[in-house]
Symmetry: C2
Subunit: 334 residues, 2 copies
Amino acid sequence: MPEVSPELLMDTVFGHFSTSAIKAAIELDVFTAIAEGAADAAAIGKRTGAAERGIQALADYLTVMGFLEKADGHYRLTPSSAVFLDRRSPAFLGDIHRFLAAPEIVQLTLSDPAAFVRNGGSIGLANMAPDDPVWVEFARHMAPFMGPVAQAIAAHFAGVTPAPRRILDIAAGHGLFGIAFAHQFPEAEVTALDWDNVLDVARENAAAAKLGARFKTLTGSAFDVAFGGPYDMVLMPNFLHHFDEATCVSLLRKARAALAPGGRLAISEFVPNEDRVSPPRPAMFAYIMLATTQSGTAFPASALERMLREAGFRQTKFVPLPPSPQTLIVAEPA
Amino acid sequence: MPEVSPELLMDTVFGHFSTSAIKAAIELDVFTAIAEGAADAAAIGKRTGAAERGIQALADYLTVMGFLEKADGHYRLTPSSAVFLDRRSPAFLGDIHRFLAAPEIVQLTLSDPAAFVRNGGSIGLANMAPDDPVWVEFARHMAPFMGPVAQAIAAHFAGVTPAPRRILDIAAGHGLFGIAFAHQFPEAEVTALDWDNVLDVARENAAAAKLGARFKTLTGSAFDVAFGGPYDMVLMPNFLHHFDEATCVSLLRKARAALAPGGRLAISEFVPNEDRVSPPRPAMFAYIMLATTQSGTAFPASALERMLREAGFRQTKFVPLPPSPQTLIVAEPA
């Protein structure tokens, strides 16, 4: 007999408290303080400038959730927290909350969720002013999450001949996808396209990667700006999910027109299975898009294939990129 | 070797999306629609007046979370969802989100969580105007959750002699604790104390329970209003957790002074173990109080015993009330 319990309901209704706690812990650098040796609530409070009482309630809840272990009043990091939440770790991911739980996102998500379900879409971030700072938050804080995906995608093309020389990175954001290709192909020149304020982040990352004159920018909306080219590769990382199929098809056509003969399109996306309820992360992504865009979604492979075909592509290949929740889609023009 | 993964971090950062989805589903009565036979996104959309596209993203996410099962595009309720989320079910709990994820609570929780951790307390609901409608939301929507707890507590006193005749229900809210005692002891008269707008809900519930003149009210703050009495029983359901120890002690003293000889105090609370990280629900409750009150918490048994002793009680007994996360505390004056 299946167990009947309200526990899942309670956990879910309390979801915003879990976001609240991880946000507080990262902003106060509680995980780093513990990694550096502060073990009890008093010591962590002293190191983070927070009240012992506040730290105790927070650290106990982080323990309940599984971010910390506690024994005799002393807290320590789990192995996962040590890797991803200690700010000194090269794999530190903590700041993703600055985009994923940004005030603009929380407002869209929680103020009237029945409304965007009823309407089949939200007012949407996509509708915001191009210079909305939330996209700079995205570019700045999602980079550590997307860096490994970008590297995996660039590595997938290692050894292709001829090596791509001209690469366009559409809606480049942090620029890490183009930068990963520039590392993979030392002769290549990368053109990053995005709004100017967002490209500031890409410019910083390209300068840190010492790309020099190999890094160029195109400023504006991917729908309005002429792509130039032709390019040997066009990158379209995590962009299609913001739009409906017709909009995606027109964008894919524009990308195809910018490809040189033998050129390739490389897309990264959250691609759920055809049942749309697995794997969990790409499947739930459709709801995130419902909440935060006018008509975006997580497209299953059949929808992506249909759009690519309509835009004049053939030879579509899907490459899962575990452990990330992303899939690489490679398409070649007919 | 323990598995190192960012999955827990991702789930937690996305917590507000889970609150958002359950809120939307309950407000649109998606679970009831499915229980009544709407099986696919189109049919559920038609029945709930929502876009098919919105319902699909929502129902798929509900499936990922475990509220629904999906096969061949058809959704059905899990056994727990059928019991707790179909509005026609006598155990329907869905509306708890109207208090637990009320705009006031979300604002306190998510706007600047580092601030209340740093300060060791929040501006707090407790600081709100007495007639703040959030307390009416509490009284109205937490009743289905608290009803079974109230009944379990009243049942605990079945057979006590002499049967209590005069009962005071402090911060009565929905009034269900007092009403449960009135059912248990048909000769008893119950006095419910709370703010007047909140007592409207208790009055409705008492009228529905046909208590007639056996139900009386005392209007105002438990700290300011004279309790009257003496009473054979004083009930203090889920009130102490809003305050610091000194405030609790003064309130407990006031309750003791209102007891007749041989009278008893019955408290219900979320009581974590002394480690403060188990069981999960009472332990996490301390963070909820940190986020939503100036100095409230979930007191472990040692703290409750200390406060009760200081207030002149002896003979304290702790009675867990599974499957609820609550504990009954019975105390008798020295």
